[in-house]
Symmetry: C2
Subunit: 203 residues, 2 copies
DNA sequence: TTCGTTATCGAACATGATGTTTCGTTTCTT
DNA sequence: AAGAAACGAAACATCATGTTCGATAACGAA
């Protein structure tokens, strides 16, 4: 831990600021949230804010970056699992895992990705996911794919999944994780199996 | 025509402003384009700009709104065609039509939807498309669908299509319209046919 | 071509949000 | 209890936005 010793105050301040920002985003939308709003809501002074963060974006992203680690770790498990049990399918259902994960932090993800979000952050997250989706396609594909086809598949998987996830979170999860996952798989699996020439995807 | 009599100057000014904005978006990204940049590029005075448009967004959207008409007209044709030749498939391939359309105006769409775009506009366009996708699902579906399933399908179709379109435009169309359309259909058609219980979608 | 009309320019101005600085005060740590 | 670190509040500089206004130039109709 780099930040082992930390004044109780800074953690309290950071927490208050992050919570205030997320709440305000959900209320009035990212673009409408002024720094002053965050300060008032969190009862934090102006100079204190800028002592901790560069700007609004820095504040929001700091919250998100800690979550990236968890995703990365799980991605690695899936990839390794696939490479060992080649073509036999995997024991880990990645989309389902991600849906559950998002459900736990739905407020944050709604603020980041939902209608009230900034669009810039949504794009950032999509790029983040895309990077790992490419690895998955690479690990799974049995068919020879042209560079274009490869990229199209990765783009398609990422954004189709992400858009349904956003729809789901933005409406405060109107159906169960399993229901969403099952239907999503019904939509996407046949085409992917055909194109990748695999028999199982996330059994 | 409402705008029959128009001073030559206004049309020239508007054209210059729109072109300047699109060029600048592609160069430095929507958020980085200041009003002053547009003014300098288009050789237009500050007061003149605000005499024509409320702000940057107004300028960009004005350019887009004229295109909406064309889409709407074509959507109606597809829907009507489907309702007449029920289940026999249609003579009009809507995705292909849209891809061709975008190809013609690729600069505008790249500025609106691409990496350099604003995200806000991309969301706006997605909502616009979603509205019509719902009608298509409604017209095509043979299977009984729960409200959630219906919405999921519409969301999925819209964003999967749109994201591939954005990928394609943002990279200056690295493959032909037909190639993209064919591969996209290979990915999406099987799942959609299954869920909607139809035998043909856009044959 | 002329004349009234209308668009444009440019400069000045008001506004509002951002980010910085300073200093006195509070609250941690030891 | 004492030194160190964080905090709040207010003042300040900066920058982009959007408005106002009078002078100039281009337009359309007669």
């Amino acid at each position: 831990m780099v930040e082992a010793k930390m004044d109780r105050r800074v953690q309290k301040t950071r927490q208050a600021l992050q919570n205030a920002l997320i709440a305000l985003i959900l209320e009035k939308g990212y673009d409408s949230v002024m720094v002053q709003d965050i300060l008032d809501r969190a009862n934090v002074g102006r100079s204190t804010f800028y002592a901790h963060y560069q700007d609004k974006e820095d504040l929001l992203m700091g919250r998100f970056e800690s979550l990236q680690k968890a995703f990365e770790a799980h991605f690695q498990i899936v990839i390794a699992d696939r490479e060992e049990n080649n073509e036999k399918g995997t024991t880990v259902n990645l989309p389902l895992f991600m849906l559950r994960y998002v459900e736990n932090e739905h407020q944050l993800f709604k603020a980041l990705l939902g209608k009230q979000g900034s669009g810039k952050h949504a794009g950032h997250i999509q790029q983040f996911l895309l990077k790992y989706t490419r690895d998955i396609v690479k690990a799974y594909a049995q068919a020879p794919l042209s560079p274009h086809q490869f990229e199209i598949i990765a783009q398609y998987m990422t954004s189709a999944f992400l858009s349904l996830l956003v729809w789901w979170v933005d409406r405060d999860m109107p159906c169960s994780v399993e229901e969403l996952n099952t239907f999503m798989m019904r939509l996407m699996e046949p085409g992917l199996k055909d194109v990748l020439e695999v028999s199982a995807l996330w059994s």
